[in-house]
Every structure is written in C-alpha cells, then in structure tokens.
C-alpha cells in the first residue's frame, strides 16, 4: 500500500494501490507515451495486453501501467521513488525516446538511465530494460551516439535487456498511428508478443529467488 505524506488515516483508503493477492507478482511498466498507450484505448496498450497474456498463461502477475506521455529520462529519474512506492517485483523500463526526439545530449540520457537502474538495483527490483533506437532524421552522428547507450547497460547491471522496444513496428504505417511514431492496436500486439519472453525471464527469475 502506498500512502502519500501528509494524509490522515481516513484518507489513506483513497490513495492506495490495489493490494496484491498472495504470491502475486507486481510488474510495473514504466515509460513514456509508448508505454502509456498514447492514442489507443487502455486495453490496447502493451501493459494491458501483457497482463492478460500472463494471466491466460497461468502466471499470477499484475501489470501496472505507469507510462507518462512526453516524459523524458530526467522526468522518469525524478519519479523512481513513486514507482518504487508501487512495490514492484519487476519493472519494465522504457525511456529515452522523447530525449532523442528533442535532441537532448545522449550523455545526459545515458547518465539518467544509469541512475534509474542504480535506484532499481538498490531496491532489489528485477528490471527489464527496453532499448530504444533514434529516428534517422536526427543525423548519423547523433543517432550513432544515442543508439549505443542501451547495450552498455546489459553488462553493467544485472538486467534483462530487450534490444529494441519497437522491433517490427517502428515506422511501419500499418502498425502505427497517423503520426508514424506511436503504435496502433496491432502494433501493440506485436510489442506485447516481442516483450513477452523477456518478461517471462524476469518472472522466472523472481519465482526462483
């Protein structure tokens, strides 16, 4: 249960996270609009699809969508405490796309993600890091620097690394909304399928602890 500072007892009930069933694994999907499900109904977003898939496969897991549209890695870093307040067993971390689209220095993005991973490690949360690749219009030099950020963490932290969150979906007009960037319902189905093995790995890791 998460309680806000300053709340009286009778108010606690209004601020709590749904308490978990016995043995239920809480997976918090953290990220930007790609996680939040910008432009699609909540049940079409990947965290929702993933939760249903895990349930149908018999896993006692609950997936919480903690995506925030337009959020950068700096924003995510500042809310790690809040995310940890959700008592996650597993965090799926997807961030950095907005930093890239705003041309923010890749070194800054790298530092932020590293700090986030540290905080998650300290809290003993199993982390699935979803890598991101930048659109080519940003220029070869910037794209090269940006794309090299994510693979570095695979060896640096004990994380489960998915090389590219938008694999098979990015820039495909039939799988994205009219803006060519955000996945549509079909796109999210592919993302949920793609990320599933990585999440299963994390679930198994949790079960084996």
């Amino acid at each position: 249960m998460l309680i806000c500072t300053g709340c009286s007892q009778e108010e606690e009930k209004e601020l709590m996270v749904e308490s978990n069933n016995e043995g239920e694994i809480i997976i918090v999907a953290v990220g930007d609009s790609l996680t939040a499900g910008y432009g699609v109904a909540e049940e079409e977003s990947y965290p929702d699809l993933l939760g249903k898939k895990l349930k149908s496969d018999g896993y006692n897991c609950r997936v919480v969508n903690s995506g925030v549209s337009a959020e950068t890695s700096s924003g995510l870093l500042s809310r790690v405490g809040w995310v940890l307040g959700l008592n996650p067993d597993i965090v799926i971390l997807e961030t950095g796309a907005n930093d890239g689209l705003r041309g923010i220095d890749p070194e800054m993005v790298e530092k932020n993600i590293r700090d986030i991973l540290f905080r998650l490690k300290e809290a003993e949360v199993i982390t699935v890091l979803a890598g991101m690749k930048m659109t080519l219009n940003l220029g070869p030099s910037y794209v090269k620097k940006f794309n090299s950020i994510y693979p570095k963490f695979e060896n640096e932290f004990d994380i489960i690394f998915m090389p590219f969150f938008l694999k098979d979906v990015a820039m495909k007009n039939e799988l994205t909304l009219g803006d060519g960037l955000h996945p549509n319902g079909d796109g999210y189905k592919i993302i949920a399928d793609n990320i599933y093995p990585y999440v299963l790995k994390a679930v198994n890791k949790k079960q084996n602890l």
Binding site: L15, T72, G75, G81, W82
Partner: protein, 835 residues
C-alpha cells in the same frame, strides 16, 4: 374607364406626410447603406482573411503524410499539374541535429526542405532584403536568427546537416507559414530540395512530415478537388485539407470571425426591417381616421391599398436612391476615414454586383416588413372614425400566403448569409421563438401591472395610458426590445470573441516556455532566470471515472477537440491564481476542523463542461499507477489569455507534494534575448527543453490585432446604424405620445402633471424594452457562443446594465422632447395640425 391610380390623391398624401415619410425614407436609406457596406466589406474582408489563411498554410490544398505520398495520390497531383489545373510544391519537414563545421557545437533544428516555387502563398523575408528564391540553392541554406545566436556563428559560416555541409546564406526574418507550427522546439532552417538526397536524412527510419502544397488555377474548385483527392488518399495515413479547414488553431478563429460577420449582416437586416416596419406603422396609424373617412366616401380597401403600396414604393425608391448615393459615398470615403482603423491591406471595391445585390435585398426587406402595416389599410372600416382604438386586420388565406412567401424569402436570405441551411433554420427558429416569448412576456407583464393599485394619480394615469384598449404599448416594447437585443447580441458576441482570441496575445504574454524542470533544479533555475518566475508543478495522470462511471476512452478519443481520455497535467496549490475566479463552490478547497484542506480537486470550467462535472462529484484518477478518489470542491474560470499557464485539475498541496512531478515555467523575455537565455538554460540544465514562442506569438498577436480592428469596425458600424434606426423608431412612435398629451391638456391637466405622466410612461417603456432585450440577448449570445462558436461565454452584465440606463435615457428624453410642442401649443390647434 375607371382610373386605377388617382395621381392627385397620391401626390397629396405624399405632400402631407412629410415628416413621417422622411423618417421612413431615412430608415430605408440607412438600412441600404448598412447592408451594402456590411455586405461588400464582408466580401473584402473575407478575401483578406482568406489571404492570411492561405499564407499560413502555404497552399489552397495541403496534402499531408508521415510517409511518401501513395501512388494514387501522387498520380492525382501529377494529373492536376499536367492539366494546368494546379501548381504543386513539395516540402519535407523534420527535426535534425545540426553541427558546426568544427564539431564544437550542435543544435536541434527544425529543418524544412522545399522545392522551387515555395512558398506558393505568403512570403519568406530575408535579412539581406534579397528574394528568397534567389538565395536558396544547392549547398546554401537560410536559417532563423536563433541558429546563429545559439551556435555563435554568422552568415557565411558552414553548418553540417546530415551528410551535407551547407553555407549559411541568409537569415529568415519572417516566414508566413511559421505560426501554424506554434510549438517548435528548434529554430528554423530552410534547405533547397536539390540537397535532399545529399543530406541522406529522408529515408526509411526517419520521421518526416511530407507535404504537397497545391495552388489551384480556379479557386472555386478547391473543395471539389479536395474531395476527389481524399477519395484517392490512404485513409488514416494521408490527410487532404483545404486552407480553410487545415488543422491549425487559427482555423477556428477564422471560422468564428466569418460567422460573426454573417451575424452582423443578419442583425443589420433585421434592424433595418424593424425600423421600416415601425416607422410605416406609426405613419399609417396616424392616418387611420383619414382612411376611414375616405372609405366612407366610397373608396374600396383595394383602392387604398393600391395607392399606399405605390406610396410606399415611391418612398422606398427615394430611400433606395438615397441609400445608393450614401452607400457609394461611404464606400468611397471609408478607406480614408478608417485608414487607421482597418487593416491596410484590405482592398475596397465598389462593384455593380454589390449595389444590385444591395438594392435587391433592400427591396425584399422593404416588401416583407411593409406588408403587415399595409395589410391593415385593406381592412379599415368607415366605423373607425367613431372609435378610439386602432382597427384590427382581417386575416384571410391570402394574408397567410403572403406571410409564408415573405417568410420564405427571408429564409433564403438568411441561408445565403450563413451559407448553411440548418444554421439558417436554427437562426430563424431562435429569432421567432424569442419574438414569441417577448410578445407573450410583455403581454403578461402588462397584465400584472394592470392589477397593481397605484396610489399616485400620475402613475395611475401613466399605467392606464399604457394599458388602454387598442394601445400600441406591446408593439412599441417589442419593436424597441428587438433592435436593442440585436445590438447587445453583437456587442456580447464581439466581446467574447475578443476575450477568447484577441486578448490572448497581449504584449506581456509569455515568450519562452521551459519544460521538464526537475524538483532539485528549482532554486538554481530561479537564480538563472530571475526570482520572479513562477514554477508550476506538473503531475501526469489519467481520469478513470466520474461518479463511478468509467470514462469511455473509445468515445472520448474520437472527439475532435480536447477529450477526457488523454493524460492530464495535474498541479497543486492552495490559492487561486490572479487570473482565476470561482464560478462554483464557496472556496477553492473545503477545510477540516483543524483548518487543513481535505482531499478534493478544483476543476477549470472548460474541463467541467467536457465531462458534465459539478461540485460534489467524485472523480477517480490514476496517478502513474496510484489510484486516487477525490470530490470536486470548486469550479474555476480564467480571466486571462490562453498563453498563460493554466491547469484543468488543482489539488491541495499536501496531497500531491510527494507525487512524481516536473516543473513548468512561462517567461516573458524580449525576443532578441531569448536565444542567449536558451543557451544559458541548456548549458546549466541539459534536460530542460525550451520552446521559443516569441515570433509565433508576435505574428499571431499582429494578426489578431488586425482582425480585432475588423471586428471592432463591423460591430461599431452596425451598432451606429442600429442606434440610428432605434432613434427613428422612437421618433416614429412619438406621435402616439403627443396625441396623449393633447388629450390630457384638453381634460385640464397642467404641463408639469402631463410631463410627469409622460416621464413615468416612457420610463416604464424603456425599462420593459431594455430588460426584455437583455434577457433575449443574453440567451441568444450564450447560445451562439456555446453552440456555434464553441468559445467560453462571459455575460458582460456591465454592458447590459449600461444598455438599460441608455435606453431609459433615450426613450424618456425623446419621449419628453416630443411632447414639448404639444405642451406649448393650444390643444385645439395642435389637434387640427395633427390631422
């Protein structure tokens, strides 16, 4: 053979109706002047506004996609250009990180690659004064000043974009298409299409906005061609828009402005009609006894009708001729008179079409509004000589047929003005309903007034005079209330349009937005930009349910405007901002026994309206995974520009202080200082994104000021014309009052007593008319703003009360002035003169 028209009778009638005829002619002329002026200016201004919209969007038609155009659409464009039906220009817009040639600095820029011929409409002004198309070429780019200032380079230096190295050839001073993209993160760079391939940035894996702009050879074919292209484009991927419906925030304003101009035309039309009807009615009422005498000598009703129809037509012809001359004079001199008042680029044209249309409309208005008073002549019986009250018209089949025909004509006119059948009918329905309501309410009010026992003899007599059988009080109240309400409607709608759009771009509006300021950067950020800046905490959340009913996300996402399914920015604070007022709830938040605010949320009126939410409703939010249930404590409204930060949902500070948040700041910085401040911010806080809206805000402000002048001019012109028509209506009705004065004098009342009666009588007339006008105008203006314009409504009670005061002063002054001759003259002599 019996003579159809008796020329001597007609001439005599014309000569002996000088004063009343002059008022009638004045009304017809005035209505024509205002109709011609409003109509033709409307067209001129429509042209000017269309020009602005074209310049903003760069083409008659805009084909937009995030992918290369589909084969079908490409072929359609080629067909149009080959058949010389259109000229096409392609653009590719994207963000890219541009680098200094020595790799010592980089900057995210807003790149637009353009083909020869860009822009099709509007212009690109360069600092050197050279023509844009002469400067832009292979290897040469033009950039916004921000690029130079932020990278510390100058014209002539080199810049690396993608795989190409460019020479900076010039600086963009103004680009008309810029404000459409209001929130640009980077400064602009324009690149020639010759370098498109060399940059190697437009390819699979890049995020590009592909646009094809079309300039049509035949401007009237825009909508047809747009429909054809839409059929050939890929649904959901390719957008075909016209300059009028292209998705910019300005579009809504243009639509509303044109609608407002239509509204003014209609109001002018109805004002003119009311003036004509009331002056003719007053004129004919005075002649009723004469008509009855003529009838008693054997003349038929048809004889009278025929002569008076001719009488009206002659007067109307004089009025129309006068109107045309005055209209031409007004048109000729208006550009000089209002050179400071109207935008300079408006071209005034006097066309035969404008004049003939004006005459046609004038005639239709004259015929429709003179029909009812004329019809009454047909039914005047000789017995009226012995009666004190007016005769009542017999309503036959042909009477109703004429009404229906006239009404249909009026419908056609309204629909022509509004351009839409359904809107035209809504309007007419609304106006008829208001008419019906005001007539019935007047009747009821007068009935209740008659039941009151007045003690003072003047009050009793004033009331009896107003309520006597066959009186014209009801028609005077309605005749006055309608033009008054029309004027107030124009004023209120103008005021609300201005409040929503024009005042939104004041000189001290923010010019730089800073996003993503982190909690631990607050103090340092303040130090950098100045202590006065307000940092607004921003907490992202979704609204889950209202009173336990889940927000229907599928339905909400389909809404064209804002919707409840998106993520919202919540904030927290314990007090209202200086531009906020409470519209529901006693305080921002209720407090518990300890004086602490309990968990509640305050809503902005716009979001409350979106979800039909009210004080006491229970809302459930999902704040990044945490659910929170809160009660709505109050509803706020804003009094200031939309450029200032505002939040739909505000919580008490203590509940969200620990929630994940970033901060947002809106700064007012002089435009030339912005790039340097941006540099300092980004160097100190690389995570903070800055959005420079100075140029866009300046450009929007310029345009809004120009449009504001148009709105002011039309409103002022219409109000002036309407005011004159009201004065003439009051003058027309004044003869009734004079007659009353004479009767009182005959009965032995002294002048002061009669004046007191008149004062009370006119006071009541003015009060009733203005109160009804205010009620009608408030309902109508609210409906227009709410249903047609889609803008928030501010009632403007100050103006409404001012209208009450002015009307009373008007009615009482003119009424009393009118009765002075009656006071001074001997009753017998005046009666003889009157007849």
């Amino acid at each position: 053979m019996k003579r159809v028209v008796n020329g001597r009778f007609l001439l005599r009638e014309l000569l002996y109706s000088k004063k009343q005829a002059a008022i009638y002619i004045l009304c017809v002329a005035l209505s024509l002047v205002s109709l011609i002026a409003v109509n033709s200016f409307r067209r001129d201004i429509d042209r000017s506004i269309s020009g602005d919209a074209l310049a903003l969007h760069g083409g008659d038609l805009i084909l937009h996609s995030h992918y290369d155009l589909s084969e079908g659409l490409q072929r359609a464009v080629v067909e149009l250009t080959e058949e010389k039906k259109a000229t096409a220009v392609r653009t590719w817009a994207f963000y890219s990180v541009a680098r200094k040639s020595d790799e010592s600095g980089s900057l995210l820029c807003n790149i637009k690659v353009v083909e020869n011929g860009y822009p099709l409409y509007g212009r690109v002004d360069l600092a050197s004064g050279r023509e844009f198309f002469q400067v832009l070429g292979a290897g040469k780019i033009v950039v916004g000043q921000g690029v130079l200032d932020r990278l510390g380079i100058a014209v002539g230096d080199q810049l690396q974009i993608g795989k190409s190295l460019f020479e900076i050839a010039d600086v963009i001073l103004y680009e008309s298409a810029k404000p459409v993209r209001f929130f640009n993160i980077g400064p602009p760079v324009l690149v020639s299409y010759k370098d498109l391939a060399g940059m190697d940035l437009v390819k699979q894996g890049s995020r590009i906005a592909y646009e094809t702009l079309l300039k049509m050879a035949d401007a009237t074919a825009v909508n047809t061609v747009a429909a054809q292209l839409r059929e050939r484009g890929l649904v959901g991927q390719e957008r075909v828009e016209t300059f009028r419906d292209a998705g910019s925030g300005i579009k809504h304003f243009f639509d509303n402005l044109l609608f407002f101009l239509s509204l003014i035309s209609i109001c002018t039309l109805l004002l003119a009609g009311t003036g004509i009807e009331s002056s003719l009615s007053a004129m004919l009422r005075l002649k009723e006894k004469n008509f009855a005498i003529i009838r008693s000598f054997g003349a038929t009703g048809a004889y009278l009708l025929r002569h008076y129809l001719l009488f009206v037509l002659i007067l109307s012809a004089v009025g129309i001729a006068l109107g045309i001359v005055a209209g031409l004079l007004v048109k000729g001199y208006l550009s000089v008179l209002f050179s400071d008042f109207l935008p300079q680029d408006i071209v005034f044209r006097s066309s035969v079409a404008d004049l003939s249309e004006g005459v046609m409309i004038g005639l239709m208005v004259v015929l429709f509004f003179t029909f009812l008073p004329l019809w009454r002549i047909n039914n005047i019986k000789p017995v009226v000589i012995f009666r004190s009250e007016s005769s009542r018209a017999k309503k036959t089949f042909s009477y109703y047929l004429c009404i229906v025909l006239g009404f249909s004509g009026l419908c056609v006119l309204l629909i022509r003005y509004l351009g839409e059948v359904s809107t035209g009918f809504y309007f007419l329905g609304g106006i008829l309903l208001l008419l019906l309501i005001v007539t019935q309410v007047t009747r009821l009010t007068l009935y209740f007034l008659s039941k009151i026992k007045w003690r003072r003899p003047e009050a009793r007599l004033a009331m009896r005079s107003l309520l006597r059988p066959g009186n014209v009080t009801q028609s005077i109240v309605v005749t006055l209330a309608i033009p008054l309400s029309l004027l107030l409607i124009i004023y209120l709608v103008e005021n609300n349009l201005r409040g929503t759009y024009i005042d939104s771009f004041p000189a001290d509006a923010p010019t730089l937005f800073c996003l993503d300021i982190q909690k631990n950067q607050q103090e340092a950020f303040r130090e950098l930009v100045g202590d006065k800046v307000t940092l607004h905490p921003v907490i992202r959340a979704r609204l889950i349910s209202i009173n336990g009913k889940a927000v229907n996300r599928g339905r909400e996402l389909k809404k064209r405007r804002d919707n409840l399914a998106r993520e919202f920015n919540l904030t927290y604070r314990d007090a209202l901002l200086e531009d906020e007022i409470l519209v529901a709830g006693d305080t921002l938040f209720r407090k518990d026994v300890k004086g602490e605010p309990v968990l509640q949320v305050s809503l902005l009126d716009t979001v409350a309206e979106m979800g039909d939410m009210k004080v006491g409703d229970i809302l459930q939010f999902n704040i990044q995974g945490v659910k929170m249930e809160v009660e709505v404590s109050s509803i706020r409204s804003r009094t200031r520009s939309m450029l200032y930060p505002f939040f739909y949902f505000i919580f008490p500070g203590k509940y969200l202080r620990e929630a994940p948040q970033t901060y947002f700041a809106a700064l007012h910085v002089e435009s030339e200082e912005i790039p340097f401040l941006e540099n300092r911010i980004v160097q100190s806080f690389p995570n903070i994104s800055t959005i420079n809206i100075a140029e866009a805000a300046k450009e929007m402000g310029r345009m809004m000021q120009k449009l504001s002048k148009i709105v002011n001019f039309f409103a002022a012109f219409s109000i002036l014309a309407g005011g004159l028509i009201i004065v003439s209506s009051i003058f027309a009705a004044r003869f009734e009052r004079i007659k009353e004065a004479v009767y009182y004098k005959i009965l032995g009342a002294d002048s002061r007593f009669v004046l007191r009666i008149f004062f009370l009588e006119n006071l009541l007339l003015g009060l009733l008319s203005s109160v009804f006008a205010i009620v009608m105008a408030q309902v109508a203006a609210w409906s227009l703003c709410h249903f047609f314009l889609g803008i928030p409504y501010v009632p403007g009670w100050g103006a409404s009360l001012g209208l009450v005061g002015l009307t009373i002063i008007f009615v009482v002054t003119i009424g009393l002035l009118g009765s002075i001759p009656a006071m001074k003259k001997k009753p017998g002599r005046f009666l003889r003169q009157l007849n």
